[in-house]
């Protein structure tokens, strides 16, 4: 007995000394290539009704094209060409042959089908992980057929969220100032479009100068400034109903009203007794509260998403720099110390970054930095560009860029551009006219 035990102990000890430790390999790098994704056209059910002004048979194809365009614009996905697809949409939607799709190097696949019945559009879609050969997400929803573009954006959002972990930003709109006419006689109208440039609508006639439209982060209200008999006025506009009201007449120069994160206040700067300071106005009670009281020029305030802090720019140190303070105006801290002039700070909806415009040596930069001013990254440089506005997920910035004009104003143009926070994915947005001062809405389907 003791003998056996003795052998066992010895054997065990020997085995232990000859067994191997688990090999661990650290993978700290990967490729930056966009994820190859196949978007199969949505299968149109043959029982679908015909609807006036909508090509029902092509609807599946058209929706998939919008999804592809959305994905392409992110720089994170690479939608594969449809010519390479082997499987037809009707079968693919039920059970994709994964090996066929893997053959064209796709890693993810979107399939779907739609049916129009009783004047209602019923859409169903699935996202497949092709390497794991399994379904990642599947959703169905019903809407009115005229909403088909939004259907495409909603599907894009859901897939984007599932593949990146962050909320999408496709079912959104951008409000901007549409400009036309010669440089010294610009007609400026308020305009709104889908984030992909479709469905442009003009909200004002262009009789009066409009400036700095800004979306309410909680709904589809907009605040903007307009000059009436050369007096600046702050307006509120409900995009859903079209109703418009004057929030107030403010003295002197008024600048850039912006909503608080809860949408109940607006924050702006205006000049009282010749000195520009920051004020908030409660939209219900219409009470105006002074936030800063300094002999310097304080402008461009922007709330943090939790509403506890305000970023603004001020020339209190000589040159215009960025500052952060508590929302009651206390604890003012300067956050930029770099060379050049900093302006238009905008707090990211994610709360981690502040976007800004910087002017240095006659060039304009759009950049981002952490909220304490560290980690400044200049994303893009140009002759003239400003007014960054965040996408609702805090990943992309939209801003406008002007070209240099000749002596008589020839060659002048203003266009909207977008760039993501990596700085690698810069794109020009298509607008029907020249455009400036964009503001990105929150998700419509939220």
């Amino acid at each position: 007995m003791i003998k056996n035990l003795f052998y066992l102990i010895i054997l065990n000890l020997f085995l232990n000394s000859f067994s191997y430790a688990l090999i661990e390999v650290d993978i700290t790098r990967g490729n930056l290539d966009p994820l190859p994704i196949a978007v199969s056209p949505l299968h149109v059910d043959i029982k679908s009704q015909e609807i006036k002004d909508i090509k029902v048979k092509q609807l599946g194809e058209n929706i998939s094209k919008i999804i592809e365009k959305n994905f392409k614009s992110t720089g994170l996905f690479n939608p594969l060409k449809k010519e390479a697809f082997v499987q037809k949409p009707d079968i693919a939607h039920l059970k994709p042959r994964f090996e066929d799709w893997r053959l064209i190097k796709a890693q993810a696949l979107v399939t779907g089908k739609l049916l129009i019945k009783d004047e209602k559009l019923k859409v169903e879609f699935r996202l497949w992980d092709l390497t794991a050969a399994k379904e990642m997400t599947a959703l169905a929803f019903t809407t009115t057929p005229s909403n088909w573009r939004r259907v495409a954006h909603i599907i894009s959002d859901k897939i984007y969220e599932r593949l990146t972990g962050e909320e999408g930003y496709f079912d959104t709109r951008i409000i901007y100032v549409a400009e036309s006419g010669p440089k010294n006689q610009r007609i400026k109208k308020l305009a709104i479009m889908d984030q992909d440039g479709a469905n442009t609508k003009y909200l004002t006639l262009g009789n009066e100068l409009v400036l700095t439209p800004r979306f309410n982060p909680t709904n589809q209200m907009v605040t903007y400034m307009s000059y009436f008999r050369n007096m600046p006025r702050v307006y509120l506009l409900d995009i859903e109903t079209g109703t418009q009201e004057v929030v107030g007449n403010f003295p002197g120069m008024t600048f850039a009203p912006r909503f608080s994160p809860d949408g109940k206040k607006i924050i702006m700067s205006f000049a009282k007794d010749g000195n520009s300071d920051i004020y908030t106005m409660d939209l219900e009670s219409r009470l105006v509260e002074r936030i800063t009281d300094h002999s310097s020029i304080d402008t461009s305030p922007s709330f943090s998403p939790d509403g506890k802090f305000i970023a603004f720019n001020s020339d209190r140190s000589g040159l215009q720099q960025l500052y952060v303070m508590r929302s009651d105006g206390s604890n003012v801290k300067r956050i930029t110390f770099g060379k050049g002039i900093y302006g238009t700070p905008v707090w990211s909806p994610r709360g981690d970054l502040i976007a800004f415009t910087k002017m240095h040596k006659g060039r304009f930069f759009i950049g981002v930095m952490r909220t304490d001013g560290s980690g400044e990254r200049l994303l893009t440089e140009n002759y003239y560009q400003e007014a960054p506005s965040w996408s609702p997920n805090g990943r992309v910035l939209v801003f406008y860029r002007e070209t240099k004009a000749g002596e008589k104003g020839e060659g002048f143009s203003a266009k909207l551009w977008s760039i993501d926070i990596t700085g690698y994915n810069e794109r020009k947005l298509t607008t029907k006219t020249d455009a400036s001062d964009p503001s990105w809405s929150s998700l419509l389907s939220k």
């Binding site: 000394s17 993978i27 990967g30 390497t131």
Partner: protein, 268 residues
Amino acid sequence: MIKSLFYSITFHSVMILLTVLSLPFMLREPIELPPIVSVELIQISDKTNIPYAPKARKIIEETKKKEERVVSEQAPPAAKAKEKPDRIPLPNEKKEEKKIEKKKQNPEEVKPEIRQSSEFEKKEIIDTNQIAALIDKAKEIEAVEQKEKNKITQSNKKNSFASGLTLSEEDALRAQIFGCWSVPLGLPYDEDLLVRIKLQLKKDGTIMKSEILDHERMNRPGQKFYKVLAESALRAVRLCQPLKVPPTGYEKWKDLQLNFNPVEMLKG
């Protein structure tokens, strides 16, 4: 009594013997760690340059040959016709150089190199010394990259001797997975997003079983980013099949753990 005393003495002596034998194995890691640093640096720069070196040598040799040819051909008076072959091959060589650089994995470091070669092109002059210098520089960059990688592994106290793979084997595996892993770029850089995947491999490097070690975290609320990263890591492993494993020592590497950590890339 004597019998039990005998057992006791034998048992104790065996235990002492075993302890003496096995202790150095246990102590090996801390003792051998410092000299490994220097060994690794030399090995890696050699190993990782192997795919490039023959090509580079070819380029140099080809250019030299061409130069020689030109020199010998320039001697006869009919110079016009011979200028052409001299000029035509040049862009090809430059293209080859570009290709070599593209193969490197860090795009940030590739860019300046590409720019250099394009400036080089503008000059329309080929100098073998410059090519050699360029290739040398590429080697240097490779070496620096490797150094950085090694730092990471060393800080985590994992080295090839302890892991059972040689440096080049580990390097080959890592390089293969680098190529397959599309890092989801929207992830936040300031969160702890380490994904550990345990693999059971077949002898040919295909995967029998893959398991995310902290898979419960994937379905916890607020862990969307972790889930996305874990899924991307799994995709990478599956895409890379069969993994580039050594031809021998299956017992050593049949269980393998891959630690995916994108923080450095996201901070980029």
